[in-house]
């Protein structure tokens, strides 16, 4: 089902099942990855990659791939994923070249990608003006719709096809992370000695960043570019407030992510708030709660 068909279908009973399934799966992914993101201090890389994805959307538009049809949406997603992975690896390479200055590398990639995105948006708009007039206006509206979706997310757009793609990618990333957990934990705990212990730190960094880039793109499906990094940070940060045991931290993080997504969606649907921001707000509230629990626990000791 494409967007138009979804909008034309019975609005009073929108198909929320795929939305819920997609959101919960992506929340679980965020819960698992966020522990590494927080402990390895990669929150800003997530931010960089999500904004860099904007450049990917620009490329998709110039290539004439629009998100209005299902095939278009898949094509656009593929281009955004490819571009985000490149951005993550670019940040990693620039960090190495600039002697470990990750913030500089992110600054460069984030701004370059966003600038590229905006330039390409303009170029693709300009291209349409030479077409027949009616088509250009339609495409123009399409672009604005896409920009809005990319920046702020539109999870209500999720049909079973989109949900299936999100769930599939999330499960793949989760499986690879599970498979590589020992290596990732060692790398994140003590990167400087990794190589001496037979773990290639460069390769491990790059593999994790690819997984992070994929997760960011999945998170964008819920929250859009602006808030994507949040659901890859908040659950882990909250879990670390309340536990000192690694396995528990992962458990709590996933739990907090899922509860946050569930309550967020409930509030969003009930009060007709935008779903993505509602989820981020709920997870933020849970973070504050765990922070207070942390303070209370340390006072009791």
């Amino acid at each position: 089902m494409n967007t138009l068909a979804l909008l034309q279908s019975d609005v009073s009973s929108p198909s929320v099942a795929p939305v819920i399934f997609a959101a919960i799966t992506i929340a679980i992914l965020g819960g698992a990855l966020s522990v590494f993101v927080v402990l390895k201090r990669l929150a800003f890389i997530g931010q960089g990659v999500s904004h860099a994805a904007f450049g990917g959307v620009g490329i998709a538009l110039v290539l004439g791939v629009h998100g209005a049809t299902t095939m278009g949406a898949i094509g656009q997603l593929a281009i955004v994923i490819a571009f985000s992975i490149l951005a993550a690896l670019w940040i990693s390479a620039l960090t190495r070249i600039s002697k470990g200055r990750t913030d500089t590398a992110i600054g460069v990639v984030l701004s370059a990608s966003m600038a590229l995105g905006f330039v390409l948006f303009t170029v693709s708009e300009g291209g349409h003006e030479h077409d027949d007039h009616g088509h250009a206006i339609e495409a123009h509206q399409d672009e604005h719709h896409i920009i809005e979706e990319i920046l702020f997310g539109n999870i209500l757009d999720t049909d079973w096809t989109k949900a299936g793609i999100s769930i599939g990618f999330s499960l793949i990333v989760l499986m690879i992370t599970w498979f590589m957990r020992r290596r990732f934990i060692f790398w994140a705990f003590d990167e400087p000695v990794c190589d001496a212990y037979g773990i290639n730190s460069k390769r491990t960094t790059d593999i994790f960043l690819v997984l992070l880039a994929l997760s960011v793109v999945m998170a964008m499906q819920i929250t859009g570019v602006v808030l994507a990094a949040a659901i890859l940070v908040l659950p882990g940060a909250a879990a670390l407030n309340i536990s000192n045991r690694l396995s528990n931290v992962f458990g709590y993080s996933i739990l907090i992510a899922v509860i946050g997504a569930a309550i967020g969606m409930l509030i969003g649907f009930q009060a007709d708030y935008p779903i993505g921001p509602a989820i981020v707000l709920t997870q933020s509230a849970l973070y504050v709660v765990t922070l207070l629990m942390n303070k209370a626990m340390s006072r009791l000791r």
């Binding site: 498979f179 590589m180 020992r182 934990i185 705990f189 001496a196 212990y197 773990i199 690694l246």
Partner: protein
């Protein structure tokens, strides 16, 4: 493969130069034509000033960098292979681990087994036994369940040694293990290394700039200041040799020792690398920043 036929470490005419790191930088020569062997089950101390190439030597033995010239063999294998087989344990100079990690002492020691495990394997009985034994040997068994961030500096170092030996290596490389440790602590550390060596049949390489510490830890000594100056039992280590290795840093300690600036040229001559005790001037020896 029978590694007994090979020395633990064989360094054969090895040179290493760090490439220039910018338009306005020069390449830095860290090691020049070094050759020596470390026999199995010996304890070699590598002594030298800051910037003398000690860290470079460690990176070469661990296979993190590859020499520009010459060959490094660890138990007859390439360093990368030896490392992949878990033959080498390593204690870094600075513990840069993230101590905020929600992780226990035992979990940290378990990382020592990482090269022995396939990704899908869980820790088996053998692994758990090695981890226990490693913690026992360095006396941290009672800390097993403690959070890694709750340890004292000394305890943390012992945990990191336990991590280094948990993989049952045959070679243990220690980088400046006694920085900031008092003399009694150095003696205790030396005893612990001796215990590890006899219990596990280890070959030990200790790298340090601390002349007092090295006597407690090593039975053979190599002095390194870009080239190799001396390689023998500690008894042969005379103030004169030390003075030459450390340039004028040591002069104050051992009296007024004059160092010929022109003898720096001899450092370039491979025939002088062993037992020649060639002197270097200060510029040559002490300012070759140990590149990261």
């Amino acid at each position: 493969m029978n590694s007994d036929q090979h020395p633990a470490v064989e360094i054969d005419h090895v040179s290493y130069t760090y490439p220039a790191s910018g338009l306005d930088a020069q390449p830095v020569s860290a090691l020049q034509d070094i050759s020596f062997k470390v026999d199995e089950k010996t304890k070699l101390g590598v002594l030298g000033p800051n910037g003398g190439g000690k860290s470079t030597l460690i990176k070469l033995i661990l296979g993190i960098i590859v020499p520009n010239q010459g060959k490094v063999k660890v138990f007859g294998l390439s360093p990368t292979k030896a490392r992949a087989q878990g033959l080498v344990g390593y204690l870094p100079q600075r513990i840069e681990s993230d101590l905020d990690w929600p992780i226990s002492v035992e979990q940290v020691v378990a990382f020592g087994r990482i090269s022995k495990l396939k990704p899908w394997q869980r820790l088996g009985k053998n692994d758990l036994q090695s981890i226990q034994h490693a913690m026992e040997l360095v006396d941290v068994l009672d800390l097993a369940n403690r959070h890694i961030g709750s340890l004292s500096g000394g305890q943390l170092q012992r945990v990191m040694i336990a991590r280094a030996i948990a993989g049952n290596p045959k070679l243990l490389v220690l980088d400046e293990p006694t920085v900031g440790v008092d003399i009694a602590g150095q003696q205790r550390f030396g005893k612990m290394i001796e215990t590890l060596q006899s219990e596990l049949g280890l070959t030990v390489i200790v790298v340090t700039h601390d002349m007092r510490a090295i006597a407690a830890m090593a039975d053979r000594i190599a002095c390194l200041s870009r080239s190799l100056h001396f390689h023998d039992a500690p008894q042969g280590l005379t103030p004169g040799v030390l003075a030459q290795v450390f340039a004028h840093d040591v002069a104050g300690v051992f009296g007024d020792i004059h160092i010929d600036a022109h003898r720096a040229d001899e450092c370039e001559d491979p025939s002088h690398t062993i037992r020649s005790g060639c002197g270097c001037d200060e510029h040559d020896c002490s300012d070759q920043g140990e590149n990261k």
